[in-house]
Symmetry: C3
Amino acid sequence: MIKLENIIEFIKDQIIQIEGSYQGVEIEGLADLRNRNSKYLDWIHPNSKRPQERAETSKSKVIIANQDVYYNDSMKNDGKILIQVKDPYLTIANIGNEFFAQKEKPIIHPTAIIDKDAKIGIDVNIGAYSIIGSCVIGGNSIIQENVIIRDCVRIGNNVLIKSGTIIGNPGFGFVKNEKGEWEKFPQIGNVIIEDNVEIGSNVCIDRGALSTTNIGYGTKIDNLTQIAHNVKIGKNCIIAVNVSIAGSCNIGDNVWIGPSATINNGLTIGSNSFISLGSVIINNVPPNSDVIGYPAESKELFVRKRLALVKLLKRK
Amino acid sequence: MIKLENIIEFIKDQIIQIEGSYQGVEIEGLADLRNRNSKYLDWIHPNSKRPQERAETSKSKVIIANQDVYYNDSMKNDGKILIQVKDPYLTIANIGNEFFAQKEKPIIHPTAIIDKDAKIGIDVNIGAYSIIGSCVIGGNSIIQENVIIRDCVRIGNNVLIKSGTIIGNPGFGFVKNEKGEWEKFPQIGNVIIEDNVEIGSNVCIDRGALSTTNIGYGTKIDNLTQIAHNVKIGKNCIIAVNVSIAGSCNIGDNVWIGPSATINNGLTIGSNSFISLGSVIINNVPPNSDVIGYPAESKELFVRKRLALVKLLKRK
Amino acid sequence: MIKLENIIEFIKDQIIQIEGSYQGVEIEGLADLRNRNSKYLDWIHPNSKRPQERAETSKSKVIIANQDVYYNDSMKNDGKILIQVKDPYLTIANIGNEFFAQKEKPIIHPTAIIDKDAKIGIDVNIGAYSIIGSCVIGGNSIIQENVIIRDCVRIGNNVLIKSGTIIGNPGFGFVKNEKGEWEKFPQIGNVIIEDNVEIGSNVCIDRGALSTTNIGYGTKIDNLTQIAHNVKIGKNCIIAVNVSIAGSCNIGDNVWIGPSATINNGLTIGSNSFISLGSVIINNVPPNSDVIGYPAESKELFVRKRLALVKLLKRK
């Protein structure tokens, strides 16, 4: 149980207004659609379609919302407390991380195998059965269990790498010889992972072939994703689950790549682009694009083609 | 070598009729198209196109089939034995599991790291290098090697979890802050895996963000699959390899999801639906649907559109 | 620093001609587009669009190219050295592997758990925390860390298996029983991996159900790939990242399967075929095909349909 006063103190810079009396109120958890109870702190997503109705019918005593919700008689009579903030989604995230999420202690598990030449920053957490080469890991980073990080890797500060992920393995590059057999092309480059990056579980990030595989500041990568050799990803990108980025691609900043998208090798995705789930990218994507399909094209063209096909069907 | 008598005794409730003399006959293994030998027990799949021909030309002495196959002179002269059952596919599965599959002994490997507060049922098998939090694991369950199960997970009875799989990790949820950077949305929910579930290798099942990720009774999940936070899957579903189910999806009972299908976040897939391999689902799917494509639509519409395009090509 | 003389001696059978004086020259590394320096050995890819310009503007003193590049005054005045070979891509691969790639020593890590009945060839490397059943592993093979190889597996010589990969697990096969629940179909076959195969990280190769899963000589398989039960893959294939090959498929020789392609169960892919990234294969593919799309069709048809749709749009 957390005192609401303490929560209010923590988010005070974000509060526009508080309605209702919160003295002595305690909070047990955070509400979502399936997880409700009067002692849970509820919150109205900024994109919610009927924010006022959502707030009024909430089972929670305390509700965080933006200024689309006003404190009316119904809420007053129910003894509810309304906390108005600019972005309730961000505020509830801050509250959850501060008061309800477990913090991992910076422990290096005795079964982790760490190269004697590894450079490990302060307050780093390394999980059981992880294998750490003579790499660099910045401060406050968390390496979960069963992770493999090779010699050629340099990881920044505040990086999270989840279990089962393998960083810096030699990539997939072959040359056909005269007998028609595949010979390995050397995979001797490195990997740089900048600060504040998060990498999911069972991800593969291969080292550069001759140069560098680079994940930019603040980029978040979900589970089961592949980042091939020489790929360069910019800042603050979202790379969703099961995405495959083939060799030597160049991804800009603030790019959103949806689940299961695939990007062919050597392509450039411009900054601020949005790639829909399941898209197969076989051409460069200019900045600020919104692409979808196989092969991916602009969403507008994609929709028009689909409508044209439906019309064609009706004509017959 | 297994005595055919013992096999017959084991499946006696399924037998409609036996033709030919089986005294003293022994069985060495189970036949398939590439694995044949007179001592192998052969079986005719209920969907086989020419069941009688398959049975007559089988290299095996003993054949299990349904009533589409009759015991004719050719089989008699060859000294074959025909065992008629209602569903030969199910019968052969029962025989294989009983007589030919190795049974894993309920051993907890000494290298498994198990939280002192974990509640482990009877006859549970936990493989080497697995890491088990203070979770609950029901009786007769098998956790293979290199598996990670977090504190927030509750696993039922008779569950199989294969190697390299990670259950209960925090999911992929972020909120953009005012600097345009991604802040973590709290991932503090749990995971419930009901009885008789099977989960493949290198799978990721994330804990709920604020509530529960739930895998229903008897559902089978193949390798390299992602079940994101808050996903709810019903009973007796088949989730094939490399499927990605994004956050907060609601999958009914008896749903079949083909290999490499992707389901966008927040969608509902009605019970008894069939989703073809590689489909990308971006809208809710009603119960009893048969969908395919990108974006997925009814199979009937998908086929009509394809035919219309072929016609269009011919006109020019 | 490597003496250029030594490199020249090593590749002497491949050299057509050397221009410029190479006495005393030393090489520090291999160049690529992002990794340049006069002491790096540069090379012009046989498919380079302006090979002569690339060679003349290279920052490197020493350049390997084919006969499309000639040694002109500009190169001469810059004191450059041009080494002409038939296939610069292959030559640079040979040089990289010989002089710049680290060679792994054949060590069996003490934390690897190896069955007493395993048959391990000479000069085999087995990484930390790997689990090796009573299988066969041929000479000079490398098994990286956290790999699982089951009893039923036979691995040839010079095979590389990367971290997190699981070979020989029971596959995904079920039969519905009369209660509408899934019962396991026995998964009791084996796996054969022939010589010179390379298998990426976090890959799953399941054992045959009743017979064999087979990976042919010299085939290369990238990360996060699934090879289901009974699949047979021929020689010298390239299976790119995130490919899913469902049960009992039959893949010929020299097949190229692009990233994230999915192949439905029981299909045959003829030798020398090329399957584009993201393709979903639902019919057999004849030898020497070039297929793409969902469902995959010939590239020529795929392109014509796309053009027809664009025309249709313009008409309206």
